[in-house]
Assembly symmetry: C2
């Protein structure tokens, strides 16, 4: 193996005139994917580490590069290895990334491994894999730059794991620059990119697909909201319902509870000495009905998310959750097991 | 300038045994930020190109790298340049990225430039900038790898432009692995990550902030929906309103139009010979009221999005738009200028 590069002394003359934490933070502005690089050690054991300094170099010949710190415990093994494998991690492999970023421990314990060229240990479920001949090693300050000639590769459509600003991130595709939101003819009015429009329309259109199942059960929107809320919190007071469903049920809570009680789906839970309040709970029939509807709603969700795409669904949910943290300080009222169901 | 590396002949012996389009696609699985690298040509003119093969190498000394194709028109200038600058692009700089990815033309025309070390042309508005001394050049197949010693850098909190799978992307932060959505105590019931819950709650909580302005105008939800829809389409039939607001207004369209007409906010547009249908339009008072409410709603939006963060807002909107493309085929009915307002 050829090792070329500037003598290390040449770099030693340079000095970091600036704060290295700040430098690190500035470098973190550049988003990257996340890879795990593996090789087979001289003792036959698989080695691997999480690396985001990977990048492509050349198409013909096919070359990629990554770099490894001089003080890495795995340096000697990678310098000696004839082959290494680059695994570009998928969005759902964050735990794998964390595992291989730690020192020591048996990183491969319990993992399904495949065997590649020259006994390379190959991980599964990645976005892409490159099996490389270790072609060149260049000096790069406190790192060695490894160039690999790609001998074999494979890829999947799995969405990528992304690292940015020192944190893991989702990548979601942008609209092409030509796509502009529709605008009203009336200056000052809404455009199609108004968040309230997008949220309202998304909610109403999504809920419209669930509503047909409600109609089949002869239930209205409010009744579904109350039924499903009662599945979140086993014993719920009318006041909690009103807080949890503020802006949804306004003025209708009492009437909706009455209708559901009459229908035999909801009842007032027996009063106990310890907790003398009035709490509502689902009857067996109410619980069965709620679960039927929830199951139908989940099927609607699954179908919608499948069309939206595997990469976009978790990002959308995560962003909506973050939005709720901003606009919905009372969301806690809907959830919780603090009150035990009484027999 | 030291130039080191393997003799190029060593690479020539390698051959691409595989399809280079497929290889390119596999490389595209690794997400990257996007940079523009600039230098000053020997003739004093600024040069620049879009590059995503950038990565960090070393902290001490501070080194970064990127690579440039042998057949690039700018290669000679970059090989000769003593300094180069790396600009990590922000999410709103996609057009700049496209501009600097094209060959020829005066890429710098009309851009605000700053001047850096050694007369380096510096672009503004980036996520980070690194001014480098061109330290080493290594052979990398059909590319040259440039190593720069970072002499100076700056950064901002601007969210990044990301490239993945041959397309531009948003990066949005993931929830930390420890954060798990709340689950119902009842198996089979909803979790906090059910899309319908997230959409409904987001809509209702967002709308709750607008509702106070409606109340001040003594208007209900339905009346606001109709008023704002009439600002989207100048002349609207009752049928179009029903289609556009299906699932929102159900059964209330006629009554809501009547209430708004009585209030003097909506009227039936004069019938013309060319278009004898019955169309509703806003009166001057109705338009003024709608614009007051829309202005208040936009202020609510601005406040919410500011709290959500500059990087997340465009990603959320883009994802909701994509969701609507899946669940809302009829959204076109709400928009359009196909019918001219008559005097």
């Amino acid at each position: 193996m050829l090792r070329v590069g500037a003598p290390h002394a040449a770099f030693a003359a340079m000095s970091t005139a600036f704060d290295s934490a700040a430098f690190r933070k500035a470098l973190g502005s550049f988003a990257t994917g996340v890879t795990i690089i593996t090789c087979r050690g001289a003792d036959g054991k698989p080695l691997g580490l999480t690396v985001n300094s990977f990048n492509s170099v050349s198409l013909n010949p096919p070359l990629v590069l990554w770099s490894l710190a001089h003080n890495s415990l795995s340096l000697a093994a990678f310098r000696a290895a004839r082959y290494f494998a680059v695994h570009v991690l998928a969005a759902d492999q964050e735990e794998l990334s964390v595992r291989f970023a730690r020192r020591g421990a048996d990183k491969f314990a319990g993992l399904a491994l495949e065997t590649g060229i020259g006994e390379l240990p190959l991980l599964t479920g990645c976005s892409a894999r490159f099996q490389c001949r270790s072609a060149y090693q260049y000096e790069g300050g406190d790192h060695i730059i490894f160039l690999g000639e790609v001998l074999s590769f494979d890829r999947s459509d799995a969405p990528p794991l992304v690292f940015h600003g020192g944190r893991y991130a989702h990548a979601t595709r942008r609209d092409p620059p030509g796509v502009r939101p529709r605008r009203s003819w009336l200056a000052g009015s809404f455009g199609e990119d108004f968040l309230g429009y997008l949220l309202g329309r998304s909610h109403f259109r999504f809920f419209a697909q669930i509503r047909e199942f409600l109609r089949a059960e002869q239930l209205g929107d409010e009744e579904f909201y109350v039924l499903s809320t009662l599945t979140l919190k086993p014993l719920t007071s009318e006041e909690e319902l009103k807080i949890g469903l503020a802006g949804v049920l306004d003025g209708e809570a009492t009437r909706t509870l009455a209708r559901l009680t009459e229908r035999g789906y909801v009842r007032v839970a027996p009063v106990t000495a310890e907790d003398p309040g009035i709490f509502y709970e689902l009857t067996d029939a109410g619980r069965a009905c709620a679960l039927r509807l929830i199951s139908a709603a989940k099927a609607v969700e699954e179908n919608v998310l499948e069309q939206l795409g595997a990469g976009e669904a978790p990002a959308l949910k995560s962003l909506l959750n973050r939005l709720l943290a901003v606009i919905d300080p009372a969301s806690g009222a809907l959830w919780g097991n603090e009150r035990e169901r009484r027999p």
